[in-house]
Amino acid sequence: MKTQRTAASMTGALAALSIAVAGILSACGGDSGGSFSATCPRGEIDKAGGKVQVLFWHAMTAANRDTIERMVGEFNASQDKVEVQAVFQGSYGDNVTKYFTALRGGALPDIIQVEDTSSQRMVDSQSVARAQDCIDATGYDLSDHLERVIAYYSIEGKMWPYPFNVSNPVLYYNKLAFEKAGLDPNQPPRTLDEVRTYSQKIVDAGAANHGMSIELGGWFFEQWMAKAGQTFVDNDNGRSARATSVQFDNDTGRRIFAWLDGMVDDGLAVNVGRNPSGADHLLAIGSSDAAMTIGTSAAMRTVYGVLESGQFPHVKVGVAPMPGLDAADAGGVEVGGGALFIVNRASAAKQEGARIFAEWLNAPEQQAAWHIGSGYIPVRESASQLPDVQELWAEFPQFKVAYDQLLSGETNAASAGTVLGPYAAVREAMVEAMEQMLLQGKAPDAALADAAKAANSAIKEYNDRIR
């Protein structure tokens, strides 16, 4: 844990430094209008004559890495203007750390895959091109893209990165444990109250040690807020203007914290902590420590690969939308995953090449192949209509759950998700509050209030630095 925190704070420090430098550079640039010019490089590859090399940094591991590297090969073979070189840079965190270090005068990529929460930092670094400028200039058609995806990656109404790998949280549950507890395995819980009722029955029937396993993370809390139609930070979740304070210290936030506290205190949920392996909450289902958990839809292939490998005869996995606070809530879940930023320090020809590559990855055929090969959900509707995807969904309807979930509910400021510079620090404040509540017996309301206080000071510190 300690090393993780050190790494996180170091990442923050590096980011701070690079942002400071970026600020100085732009101040010297004498750019009077915006901090960047709204242009889209076009026809530059032809002007440069022949083929352009594009360097692509990504953070996909294991099978997803193989898939993306195979797709890059296909792209290179499909045309003769752009040659993409894919370089794996470790985790999302490593990738961004390396990027912000390289901003100080090192070798930068031309296009980079960045985790959902890093958008504001990328924008603030003033080192990335705005996708919207090219979308407008070339008339690129976004009407087929999912509304929620466009909303997530737009700030002040403008798209910044190109979407690529999209996921969201779903409920994984053990159908056999449900049956043992006398619950209908085809009627998974839809609200947190139902989760509690179900958990009680599961524990009473001895179908599992706990009803649910819970990972401590800010992501689920944010998703519950979004489903309840509540913004997480002010200024429309940071989308109409830079966020200045958090808004989760309210009735909705307190209900979520009280529910978590009650579930763990009453032995209905097992707290697997920060879950650095990313697998403990899922393995709890395999070991019958729990019958339900909430996890990213991106893990679906792994979940099925492991839990239904035949070694767990007492497990049959079901997938359902993430339960929310109230059944009547009109909100929806936010987008998770990663997106592609084009680096504006690259030559015009390289930027153009990077854009062509990003557009290719967004094409229906590629999104379909990516969905099937990785488990991330397609970012556009026409991809979901392709025969390969329809076949997959007919055979494994659970792969459709996350896609449908992203289409359901209203797309508004709350479900568009949060853009925030010091996202990591705010999530850290949230997790620390949860730890204090669940492990040290702090009252939920007090823990939440402290989380808000710590988060607000992190936001203020970041904003002061940017200004």
Binding site: R104, A107, S288, V306
Partner: protein
Amino acid sequence: MATNVPAPRRRPFRWQRVATEAAQYLALTVAAAVILGPVYITVIYSLQPVEKIFSYPPQLYVTDPQWDSYKRAFETGSLGRYLINSFVVSLAITAGQVTTSVLAAYAFAFLRFPFRNLLFVVFLATLMVPWEVTIIPNYQTISTLGWLDSYQGLIVPFLATAFGTFLLRQAFLTVPRDLRDAAAMDGYGHIGFMLQVAVPLSRAAVGALAVFSFLMAWNQYLWPLLITNEDEHRTVQIGLKALVSANIDEFNLVMAGTVIAAAPILALLVLFQKQLIRGLTSGAIKG
């Protein structure tokens, strides 16, 4: 035991000793089990098929070792090239640190020059600077020199160490000054005395420093990640990170990769255990 030995007088003493030793061994066994437990589990899991790893209750012994996972870890993680790079970089850093530390420590221990103690304190002060602070300036320097993606970029920033200088200075201070005078009478200059007398007498400390430097260099992650993009120069820890994935479905590969990356370090520790302990405690007890 012969029957004519007067047993009653010795027995209580012997039993007491056996009991004490038994207790000591028991405590040590428990401690060793706690420390070796994770290592043992890593090795066991690396040899089991994935389904076995996730079976419940876990199986803590191997019936049918799957050596294939090592081969696959080597291939999917391209560990071969990475291991060579790690060896090249770690050996070069070790050689560099030992050389610079011996020279600097000798100067601080045996030479007289103005501001010697002040300079030594300044030297030590650099120990207090967390290396995260220097990473960005270092990166810029290496980048300006055009050393990104090169062995020299991986090696040069780590060629000197205040810790090593401190460790060896303390060791050199225990070398009697009379020896220096005697050596001078025999016609040894500073270099001769250093190589023929001071370093051999302090070989425990020098050995400890060498092992330490190697460990440190071998385990580096952030710096190699920052300055390398090509597989050609990446080190084994980056290959390992590539194996450790968000996907838990290839746990045996991850474990096999971990064993491969840790094996040289473990071998080194076993080989140099005595030296390491003696070297690090040599300054602690006067004598």
